[in-house]
């Protein structure tokens, strides 16, 4: 039997991946919660009186985030009003089930819950999108729509910021992927704990940025938190999957690798002449975007025109597709006479 490193005399129940320490259940809870508190205070994620929306999927990360944020808010008197914001992508057999978990969180934690659906925002469920685009590129639609849907929901709820459940493993994985893809813009942004897309936009914060996935799952297990753990039924993201397994293999040999990769991502210096996107407001929908019109509007136009591949790939290719379709329409009108 291994005893708790904190000398409390209790039996250790887990080996912390971050430090290698063996801790008992109570000391683990304390360490886990204190570190998140420290992340929140050091990063100045919230101000007293803030209304905070948790992007809640019903999965392990957002379930633990909701639980811990409620607990820390009470313990350390953050004076936050916490609400839950969920996005219903319209994926039968996946999201409809996970939303039941979010509703349970709402009842258990006494938080207001707002569910926004792709159907009401865009007129398309993911089921419908997949029926026209198939199972390639569908994740592009889902990702772009979700990002904007969270912004829209945050605006509707009039919150000061949106907290998401991204954990240390997620962030290390994203750093790796951005390096592998040479995406310097995202590489620069992905390790930031607080992101402002521009002055008017509602910031996003990641209180679990330094929290290991293993500890999140162990915390949920020992606290008996109920979460939803089914993989999306539409094509898993293969590239991310490889990065994830690579990281998990490295972690087995050297658990600190997760923190080390985040640290590397944070410390990388970028050349001044690197092209930075200029963030603006989309003239079509009025939400933040780095291009005109925004990606969500282009994807949506493609779906509505019956050209679902419109927003996939280069802009010039999309423009040619529209021109071609317009030409065909003119021909059709002419031939009608």
């Amino acid at each position: 039997m291994v005893l708790c490193k904190a000398n409390c005399g209790n039996k250790a129940i887990l080996k912390r991946p971050k430090t290698g320490d063996a801790l008992c259940k109570e000391c683990f809870f304390t360490a886990f919660e204190c570190e998140i508190h420290e992340t929140i205070t050091k990063g100045q994620l919230f101000k007293s009186g803030d209304k905070v929306a948790i992007g809640a999927s019903g999965g392990k990360d957002s379930t633990v985030l909701a639980y811990v944020l409620k607990l820390l808010n009470e313990r350390y008197k953050y004076n936050l009003k916490i609400v839950l914001l969920s996005i219903d992508e319209g994926i039968t057999g996946y999201r409809d089930d996970s939303l039941e978990t979010v509703k349970k969180n709402r009842d258990d934690y006494g938080m207001e819950l707002k569910i926004l659906s792709y159907e009401e925002l865009y007129g398309w469920t993911m089921d419908k999108v997949v029926s026209v685009i198939g199972k390639t590129n569908n994740c592009t639609f889902c990702g772009v729509f979700r990002r904007q849907a969270l912004d829209r929901g945050a605006k509707m709820l009039e919150v000061d910021c949106v907290a998401t459940g991204h954990n240390a493993d997620d962030i290390a994985e994203t750093v790796l992927m951005n390096i592998l893809r040479g995406d310097m813009v995202r590489l620069r942004r992905c390790t930031k704990i607080k992101t402002h897309s521009n002055e008017d936009a509602i910031p996003r914060v990641k209180p679990l940025k330094y929290t290991y996935e293993k500890e999140i799952v162990m915390y949920a297990h020992f606290k008996k938190l109920v979460y939803f753990s089914t993989e999306c039924i539409f094509a898993p993201n293969a590239y991310r999957g490889h990065a994830r397994m690579f990281l998990k293999d490295l972690e087995k040999i050297r658990p600190s690798v997760i923190m080390d990769i985040i640290h590397s991502g944070e410390q990388i210096q970028f050349k001044e002449n690197i092209k930075k996107p200029v963030l603006d407001i989309c003239q079509t929908c009025g939400f933040v975007s780095s291009c005109q019109p925004c990606k969500a509007c282009v994807l949506l136009e493609g779906l509505n025109r019956g050209l679902p591949k419109l927003g996939i790939g280069k802009k010039s290719k999309g423009e040619r597709m529209i021109a071609q379709q317009n030409l065909e329409r003119i021909h059709r009108v002419k031939n009608d006479f």
């Binding site: 291994v2 129940i13 080996k15 392990k60 990360d61 996935e213 089914t230 993989e231 397994m245």
Partner: protein
């Protein structure tokens, strides 16, 4: 030898979606997690092997608990299974 087995975090989908099982192992031989994983592969696993195992070990990202204690504190593959042990496999690889 009677033992209990349970799955969580999505690991159950690899085992016919059954979350809890009671098992009786042949008491005449010594069981370690190493040999038990082989037993699981041959008798219980219903999905692809590589989703659960990597070599003789569980795939990284699947947590193993023995009587609610992290197997990393108990010798991992070399742990000798005792009667009435409760062995849990929890996936961290699903959803989020």
């Amino acid at each position: 030898m009677e033992i209990k087995l349970d799955f969580g975090g999505g690991a159950e989908v690899l085992f016919d979606n059954i979350k809890k099982r009671d098992l009786t192992l042949d008491s005449s031989k010594k069981w370690t997690i190493r040999t038990f994983l082989q037993y699981m592969k041959e008798n219980l696993l219903t999905d692809r092997e590589e989703l659960f195992l990597q070599g003789e070990c569980v795939r990284p990202g699947i947590l193993v608990l023995i009587n609610d204690t992290d197997w990393e504190l108990l010798g991992e593959l070399d742990y000798e299974i005792q009667p009435n042990d409760n062995i849990s496999f929890i996936s961290t690889l699903h959803g989020g």
